[in-house]
Every structure is written in structure tokens, then in C-alpha cells.
Subunit: 104 residues, 2 copies
DNA sequence: TTTTGTGATTAGAAAACTTAATCATATGAC
DNA sequence: GTCATATGATTAAGTTTTCTAATCACAAAA
């Protein structure tokens, strides 16, 4: 989830004021904030710049909480979860197993 | 400028193989790589994950490829990357291995 | 009450995206 | 040499997404 609402309200700004800075209509900015539509990469960078955060943070990617990893499948999330605190040797074994695929 | 070409060629992968992992056509991936079109935020995250870099780096906003993924170790990023497109049975085997030997 | 400021919503137009099919090349096998 | 295969680029058409002006609903202030 994109972090526009918290960033904007922290600065006590209206949707219209941020929209004007971004050169879009208030309706467009509202759509971004409510995830009805998505800003372009260029707009993401401009927003990150304006709010003084990284794009990773802006789009909720740099947060390490598990709930943010919705882009992963259930199996991938399970694997990632299990890798936390796992023995490095065991992790290497997993890497070896997964690397055995040769279908590039 | 999005850094897809260098990330893909470094790994000696074809456009078709990456496109398949991303569940898009080769033409679509080609458009991303040549900046004719842009991936969605969700797709950007999937690409960053697959190539093991931050979104900021992927889109050329940051020079550091490591920046915002410090919450994952190198091994974890490698494992996560390898799980993309891996056989579900292989993923289940990995889950079993990690579950059976990991201390809680 | 009237005005002002706010975020949400709508419909239609515009822009962007996706894809199958195809093209042009290059490489390797025979 | 010919043929087959693999690659990235391109096209055209359909689809999806995005954008905006206008408007709505609500709240607060004048």
C-alpha cells in the first residue's frame, strides 16, 4: 500500500496542494492516495522527492513487516519466513537445491 | 532509466525467460526494457525482488543496489530470487527442509 | 444562512499497456 | 551452402488504465 496519506497528513497538506505541486488534478491525486490508480515511475520519484523518502518506502516495500509482502506467493512467504534465523549452511543447501533447475 | 537490461544480461537470461517469470509476454518485457512502457508498482517490486535489488536502484533513482533491502541477508535475497518460477514441489521440499532443522 | 475548504465520486476522453503475430538477425547443425 | 532455432524488435489491434472537469457530500467558519 502506498504511503501517501500518512506522508501528506504528517505535513498537514491538502490533496489539492500536493496535487498542484505534482501538476495533476485533485481527483488524480485522490486516486493515487486511495490506490484507485497508480502514479507513473516519474511521478513516484517526484513524490518521494517531495516527501523526502525513498521510493521503496513510499510504495511500502522497505517495510520489513510480513504483511507488506503480498506480492509473494504463500509458498514464497513461508520460505522467506523460515529463512529468518536459519543456519547459513542450511540456507546454502537450499540455494543449491533451488539452483539445480537448468531451464533458463 | 530503468536498469532491466544490465540486470538481465548480467545473469545471461533471455527476455522470454524473464517475461515468463513475470507472467507477461516477451513483447511486454521488451517494452519495459526499452522504456516504451512501464511496469506497474507491483511488477516493479517483483522485478526488484527477482534481480535482488531495491526498487530505487531498479528505476535508476539510487546508485546503490543494496539500499533498501537491508532487512534481508545476501543468502535470503538469493533464496527469494530462486523461488521465482521454481517448481512448487521443489518449494515444498525447501519448506520441509527449513522447517525440520530450524531451531525456534 | 452562506461561504469556504475538504475529500470522494462520476462519466467520458485520452493515454498507456498488453499481446499474438511477425520481422530481422544471428548462430549452430547438418 | 541450407535449414532450423533462438533472440530482440516491431506492428496493429484490442484492452485496460489513467486523467480531468464537474460535481457531490460534508464540515467548519464567517
Amino acid at each position: 500500500m502506498i504511503r501517501l496519506f500518512e506522508l501528506r497528513t504528517e505535513k498537514e497538506l491538502s490533496q489539492r496542494s500536493v496535487a498542484k505541486i505534482m501538476n495533476v488534478s485533485q481527483g488524480t491525486y485522490n486516486n493515487w492516495e486511495n490506490s484507485n490508480t497508480q502514479p507513473s515511475i516519474e511521478q513516484l520519484i517526484a513524490l518521494a522527492n517531495f516527501f523526502g523518502v525513498s521510493v521503496d518506502y513510499l510504495i511500502g516495500y522497505s517495510d520489513s513487516s510480513e504483511s507488506d509482502k503480498n506480492y509473494l506467493t504463500e509458498r514464497q512467504r513461508e520460505i522467506l519466513k523460515l529463512t529468518y534465523g536459519a543456519d547459513p549452511k542450511l540456507q546454502d543447501a537450499v540455494i543449491t537445491i533451488l539452483s539445480s533447475r537448468t531451464d533458463k
